[in-house]
């Protein structure tokens, strides 16, 4: 059940009504949300429900064991059991074929031939996300940051809450569990705010991402048949496709959760207005970046050691982050490229220079800020080529053809005129994002406009564009991760 589907448009109001009108107690509300979440997840493939339930039970059980362990050694034992099983499942479903075929290729380079025993395993939707939910929970118990949860329903809801189940944000027990345990009251302003954020998320997904996707698919399908400038345009379209897709999903997730009185972690904060790569990574997929920071970078020593230690740890988190996205060398190279971009900032201690949003309180950026934003965007687009390519040879062919003499020609492909319309939408989108960049999401400010008819006309305009320019319902890119 996709957020941009008719089925979800029926599902959400039904759950909303039952939640606020029928259930009387917090316990009933949580049970209803848990049932709704399992139904939502089961709509993809009911067989995956067993995996979700097992993963939930495992972390619930090991969490209690860690908390009640009498010795440090026992605590460690239970922690490792949880890590091994969680990562074992993730590894099997997501990485088994990758390791087997990579090993076979490496062996064949030595002149030996092996037939890799690959499996046609279906990747359960959201496994990377809920595995990380569970892991953060047991890590936090191990480090005495939180107590283990004793109410199974509440813990199960923390793992499976449907707005975040399949593509995040990757929540923390310290943030979400207290909200699940607290009684939630209906708040009109929050409800309207949630609906507004859902609307903006749908615009990002249906208009920016899905429209861009048509040209991305065409241009990436056969790089050799397009000019360098068209390939450059394809990479830029992909930058907006993935941003619109994932941040649109996150907006819908946050808005939906707000309808049930729950606030999720923010996942995006206008990343394409970043002035350097470090800022980009503080604004892109924030819940994953902060997860790696807290549970990998800091335990590895963070930036406390010498220069070598900082460089090593930075490379590790970027490579692991790349690998988290999928079992393909392209993701690893994407991660490595970002680490390389990051290095000059790290080595000159400039990685925390740009903590505030660009040109805060001003209408326009300075030339220096504009240049920095464009440079960062350019570097990001280049790295996205690896992210989008189906394998390394595809990515390299794309780059080779892009940096040819035809880079300076006018982009041309048979649907270029339709693409111009999409470019106009992207321009409009960037202007709205720029105006709203100091808000949690770009159109949050509309809520503050006093005259209702102005607010409503804005919403009508967005809905009109969504209805008029929607293409065939498309899945979200991050579901594959």
């Amino acid at each position: 059940m996709l957020f941009n589907s008719f089925a979800f448009a029926l599902f959400l109001p039904v759950v909303f009504l039952l939640y606020w009108r029928v259930t009387k107690t917090l316990q009933q509300q949580n049970i209803l949300l848990l049932i709704a979440s399992y139904f939502f997840y089961g709509c993809w493939d009911w067989r995956f429900l067993f995996l979700l339930a097992f993963s939930t039970f495992l972390d619930f059980f090991t969490g209690l064991k860690i908390m009640n362990a009498s010795t440090k050694r026992n605590k460690q034992l239970w922690l490792w059991l949880s890590i091994t099983i969680n990562l074992g499942f993730l590894g099997f479903f997501k990485y088994y074929n990758f390791f087997v075929t990579s090993f076979a290729e490496a062996i064949s380079n030595l002149g030996l031939h092996v037939n890799p025993w690959t499996l046609s395993v279906i990747l359960p939707v959201g496994i990377s996300f809920y595995t990380f939910h569970g892991l953060s929970y047991v890590f936090d118990i191990y480090r005495d940051r939180i107590k283990a949860e004793r109410n199974f329903v509440e813990y199960a809801l923390f793992v499976s809450f449907f707005p975040l189940l399949v593509a995040g944000p990757i929540e923390r027990a310290t943030h979400l569990l207290p909200q699940i345990k607290e009684p939630r009251k209906f708040d009109y302003t929050k409800m309207v705010d949630g609906l507004r954020q859902i609307l903006w998320g749908l615009f990002k997904k249906i208009i920016i991402a899905d429209q861009s996707a048509q040209y991305v698919n065409l241009i990436f399908s056969d790089p050799s048949s397009f000019s360098g400038s068209t390939l450059l345009l394809g990479a830029i379209f992909f930058a907006f496709q993935i941003y619109g897709d994932f941040s649109g999903y996150s907006d819908i997730a946050l808005g939906t959760a707000r309808l049930f009185g729950i606030e999720l972690l923010r996942n995006f904060a206008y990343p394409y207005f970043s002035r350097d790569i470090a800022e980009f990574w503080r604004r892109w997929h924030i819940s994953l970046s902060s997860w790696f920071r807290d549970y990998l970078y800091i335990p590895l020593g963070g930036s406390k050691g010498g220069t070598w230690m900082k460089v090593r740890n930075t490379f590790i988190i970027f490579l692991v982050s790349g690998f988290w996205h999928g079992a393909n060398w392209t993701f690893i190279v994407w991660g490595a490229l970002n680490a390389i971009y990051f290095m000059p900032l790290l080595l000159t201690n400039k990685n925390r220079d740009n903590l505030q949003i660009v040109a805060a309180g001003k209408t326009f950026p300075t030339f220096k800020e504009l240049f920095s934003m464009l440079l960062t965007f350019g570097l990001t687009c280049f790295a996205w080529i690896f992210f989008r390519a189906k394998d390394m040879s595809h990515a390299l062919a794309y780059i080779r053809h892009m940096f040819s003499r035809s880079l300076f020609s006018t982009p041309n492909f048979y649907s270029i005129n339709d693409a111009k319309k999409t470019m106009l939408f992207i321009l409009f989108f960037l202007i709205v994002e720029w105006i709203g960049r100091e808000q949690p999401y770009a159109i949050a400010k509309i809520g503050g406009v006093k005259r209702r008819y102005i607010r409503w006309l804005s919403y009508y305009a967005i809905i009109w564009v969504i209805i008029n320019y929607s293409t065939k319902e498309q899945t979200f890119i991050y579901f594959q991760f």
């Binding site: 448009a9 606020w20 009108r21 309207v192 065409l218 048979y414 409503w456 209805i467």
Partner: protein, 307 residues
């Protein structure tokens, strides 16, 4: 909560009204001049063409790639080319056709290969426009799943009724996709004189969907119940598109071979790229004649064998 529902109701009311008016308004001049409206004439042919008839059922592979005059002259049957658009779905095409089948008719089904893969049984804008704009009485031919999938498309359909470009300005719809370009049999003939535009070959990526095979079996039963004959054949398909999806095309052929009387084979109707017009199923004039002659041979052989 009441406040939320009150304002939500007020907010959505104009949309509901606009959608209702949009559905009820007659087709716009632009919409009324599309090939979807050829189905009105084709229905009339199905109703009025005298026996013994050769009824050809399928998508645009028929409308754009047959010369029914050759069929008539060679087989001495009265052809009715019902093909309009593959996305009208087999379910709709078969339900519509069966209403008009008479004893002695020869019904030849030539579906596009995509019909046997996921999502092609559901329908999209073309089907919605057909049942809401072309002929509202045809809504009854849809099944529940189709209605469910078409419902989210209604708002966009309704809004087109309020677009100025639907009423004024130049019609940018390619001439071959307009209403009055079919001949007395239902073949689109205007493109026989037009220049070939560029198009990318297709690749079937969706999963196999057995639903339509079962549907065809049921259709065959109904056709035979009406004392008519039923034959399945293959569309002319562009070489490069065939190569892109060879395994899937051949799998479809194998499934059909097990269950139906076939005229010709998938390989036989593969067509060189240079004979294609604007999609992997639409042929230029030379291709149309070549394909029709092959179909004549195959039908003759199959009909003789049946006797």
């Amino acid at each position: 909560m009441k406040r939320l529902f009150y304002y939500l109701g007020c907010f959505l009311l104009p949309f509901v009204l606009v959608f209702l008016v949009g559905i009820l308004l007659p087709p716009t001049p632009r919409a009324a001049d599309t090939s979807l409206f050829t189905s009105l004439k084709k229905d009339s042919l199905l109703k009025n063409v005298p026996s013994r008839r050769l009824i050809l059922v399928g998508g645009s592979n028929l409308m754009f790639s047959l010369n029914s005059q050759i069929l008539k002259d060679s087989l001495h049957l009265n052809p009715v080319n019902t093909g309009v658009h593959a996305l009208l779905t087999l379910q709709y095409m078969l339900e519509n056709t069966i209403q008009y089948v008479q004893p002695g008719d020869v019904v030849v089904l030539i579906p596009e290969y995509e019909h046997f893969f996921k999502d092609y049984d559901i329908g999209t804008d073309e089907l919605l426009r057909t049942v809401l704009d072309v002929n509202k009485s045809k809504i009854k031919l849809l099944n529940v799943a189709q209605v469910y999938h078409l419902l989210p498309l209604v708002p966009r359909f309704a809004l087109t009724k309020f677009k100025p470009t639907e009423y004024f300005g130049t019609n940018t719809n390619p001439p071959q996709y307009r209403r009055n370009t079919i001949n007395q049999y239902g073949d689109e003939t205007l493109h026989w004189t037009l220049k070939r535009p560029y198009f990318a070959p297709y690749k079937i990526t969706a999963e196999y969907n057995p639903v339509n095979v079962e549907m065809i079996k049921e259709f065959q039963r109904k056709v035979e119940e009406k004392k008519a004959s039923f034959i399945v054949s293959f569309p002319a398909y562009q070489d490069s598109s065939y190569d892109n999806s060879a395994a899937k095309v051949e799998m479809v052929e194998a499934v059909l071979k097990q269950k139906f009387v076939l005229a010709g084979s998938a390989k036989r109707y593969r067509t060189v790229d240079s004979l294609m017009f604007d999609t992997p199923y639409h042929l230029v004039k030379t291709g149309v004649d070549r394909r029709t002659e092959m179909l004549v041979e195959d039908l003759r052989e199959t009909l003789n064998a049946e006797r």
